[in-house]
């Protein structure tokens, strides 16, 4: 709605001005980008953590925050491309928001190699988000390796759940999940 109101106000201002001649020295000032300089907050639409309900409402795709990986792999599988794209879109539309990507692995194998593998998984998600328009400084990637399993059990079901990158959000006012 405000997209209609602002141009209308601007035209009213321009019409109200008397015309003055342009400076003859040819100086032309660059207009600063105001994209993202103001973040709109709708208090009626925030959840308990201070994040927009869109990020936590189970009916919204953005409430899905985990990207799962195959054993030893760190490529984002086709089935998660849409999810990553949805989060990238949110970050483009909400420049004041930041995300922390935490990479995780299952418990098998070397703890140190798993720490590096978790970093690769987090970096893969970060790279996708940035390619789709998120700003570099909106996205931080870290690894928890195998140290913080979501499912402490053993066996393929638990391991599959732990081969994962999670997306955590923080609003411009500092409130959020990290």
């Amino acid at each position: 709605m405000n997209k209609l109101i602002i141009p209308a106000l601007l035209s009213a201002l321009i019409l109200g001005c008397t015309t003055t001649p342009l400076p003859e020295d040819g100086t032309r000032a660059e207009v600063e980008t105001r994209d993202g300089s103001v973040t709109r907050v709708d208090a009626s639409n925030l959840d308990a953590s201070g994040l927009p309900k869109a990020l936590t409402d189970p009916a919204n795709k953005l409430s899905q925050r985990s990207i799962y990986f195959d054993l030893d792999r760190y490529e984002i599988k086709a089935e998660f491309q849409d999810l990553v794209a949805a989060h990238a879109r949110f970050l483009v539309d909400n420049r004041g928001f930041k995300v922390l990507i935490q990479g995780n692995t299952d418990e098998r194998g070397s703890r140190e190699y798993n720490l590096s593998l978790g970093q690769k998984r987090a970096d893969a998600v970060k790279r996708s988000l940035v390619l789709l328009g998120a700003r570099e400084d909106q996205v931080e990637s870290v690894s928890l390796g195998e140290e913080k399993p979501k499912n402490p059990g053993t066996g393929e079901a638990a391991w599959a759940e732990n081969r994962r990158a999670d997306i955590l959000y923080r609003a411009a006012d500092g409130r959020g999940e990290f």
């Binding site: 194998g109 140190e112 720490l115 590096s116 870290v142 690894s143 053993t154």
Partner: protein
């Protein structure tokens, strides 16, 4: 000190040990060497309580190594100067016998003296004396066991060395230091967040490790006596996998500050900027220096994690070729063997490679071996593994014959690191 007071002291010490039981390592031995040397270790003469503790420690150390068999020696009071009836001891099956005594000095401390005899050659193999307080009777026993081990096998013993490991219990992580037999555990660090990859400085006074206490992996150096900690790597991203340089002045660490995990060199006092040691398009991690100065590490530059070696002034060579997952390389202190973890049919097992012949041998039959660490005499390898869903430590001889298991009652034990010889 009167004998009664002395006994009370020992009783109090035992009581204190029971209170610590949940973090006390319990050792089980499975398997033994093919040709065990029969030795007789009678109780020492003199102060009987102390003598039993010392002789008991010597016997337990030698038996646990899997290289010795105890010959019954119920005699007591056989001191280091008593005449030895070689034929009698030989007749009982002993190849060697140790005799000694414990005497209390005026200052209340104890002096343990002993001599070792070869019954076949009918001669003394030498002896030693150790001064000790009541709290260090076991330490005196470890020293005597080291002496006997070296005289009879020709290799240095590791009974006096210490080990470090991490216990996870009730959501807490404890970095502990214990004697090589799991006794006398002391906690160097407690944290609500994970602690991984402890490594001993070459002089045994400091540990480097990775702690997640600041919600991300950071490398610290921790002086054990003072508890003083120094941050040696805290860059953007992950900081992990410390490995001491042979002179103890620097550490190889793995940093993700420029994207991929890559190996850098930092100063052990935390000064200066990290210097890059190797460059690859993939993951490089788990660096370890060999005695010749070359650097072994894990890299997935070839598509799967494998072991590589960077010789001083040379270029990187691939070392492991069998299978698609070979990690955690640890060159032995004598430079002859490489221990590592190999995935075979989905099972993670301890393997060793003879570096001269490149022959590889899998030493265990377990599913989840991790984090190998050589004893300083290169004879045993300490690993973390899992039995019945619980994390335990296992010490495996380099030929795979002898296995000891170290576990705690209420918790997981992991991330073992065997300390250096005492100076």
């Amino acid at each position: 000190m009167s004998r009664i007071v002395h006994r009370l002291f020992l009783f109090a010490a035992l009581f204190a040990a029971a209170a610590l039981a949940q973090a006390q390592l319990v050792v089980d031995v499975t398997g033994a060497g093919a040709n065990r040397i029969p030795v007789a270790i009678p109780d020492l003469a003199g102060d009987s309580v102390a003598a039993r503790v010392i002789a008991g420690t010597v016997r337990a150390d030698l038996e646990r190594s899997g290289l010795f068999k105890m010959v019954d020696a119920s005699e007591t009071g056989l001191d280091e100067n008593a005449p030895i009836d070689y034929a009698d001891w030989k007749g009982r099956g002993a190849d060697a016998i140790a005799a000694g005594s414990v005497k209390r000095a005026a200052d209340g401390r104890l002096e343990a003296r002993f001599r070792l005899y070869d019954t076949n050659k009918a001669e003394s193999l030498g002896g030693a004396a150790y001064i000790t307080g009541n709290e260090q009777l076991r330490t005196a026993g470890h020293r005597i066991a080291d002496f006997i081990y070296e005289k009879l096998t020709g290799e240095k013993g590791v009974f006096s060395t210490r080990i470090a490991y991490v216990v996870k219990s009730r959501g807490q992580f404890l970095l502990q230091i214990a004697d090589a037999d799991g006794q006398n555990p002391a906690t160097a660090l407690t944290s609500a967040e994970p602690i991984i990859s402890p490594v001993w400085s070459p002089d045994g006074s400091r540990l480097a490790y990775v702690s997640f206490e600041k919600k991300k992996p950071i490398v610290y150096v921790h002086s054990l006596a003072s508890g003083r900690r120094t941050v040696v790597a805290n860059q953007k991203g992950s900081n992990s996998a410390p490995a001491w340089s042979p002179d103890g002045g620097k550490l190889a660490v793995v940093l993700s500050k420029d994207g991929n995990s890559q190996i850098y060199l930092v100063n052990a006092d935390g000064s200066g900027a990290p210097q890059r040691l190797a460059t690859s398009p993939g993951i490089d991690t788990e660096p370890r220096f060999a005695p010749d100065g070359s650097l072994y590490f894990t890299s997935d530059r070839g598509g799967s994690p494998q072991i590589y070696r960077l010789p001083p002034g040379g270029s990187v060579q691939r070392v492991s070729f069998e299978g698609n997952y070979n990690v955690s390389p640890r060159p032995s202190p004598d430079g002859q063997t490489l221990a590592f973890i190999s995935r075979r049919d989905g099972r993670f097992q301890l393997a060793v490679m003879d570096l001269a012949s490149r022959q590889t041998q899998v030493l265990t039959d377990s599913n989840k071996d991790e984090s190998p660490s050589f004893a300083p005499n290169s004879r045993m390898i300490l690993i973390a593994t899992e039995i019945g869903g619980r994390g335990v430590l296992s010490a495996v001889s380099s030929d795979g014959r002898i296995k000891q298991r170290l576990s705690v009652a209420a918790g997981d034990v992991r991330e073992p690191a065997w300390g250096p010889f005492l100076k």
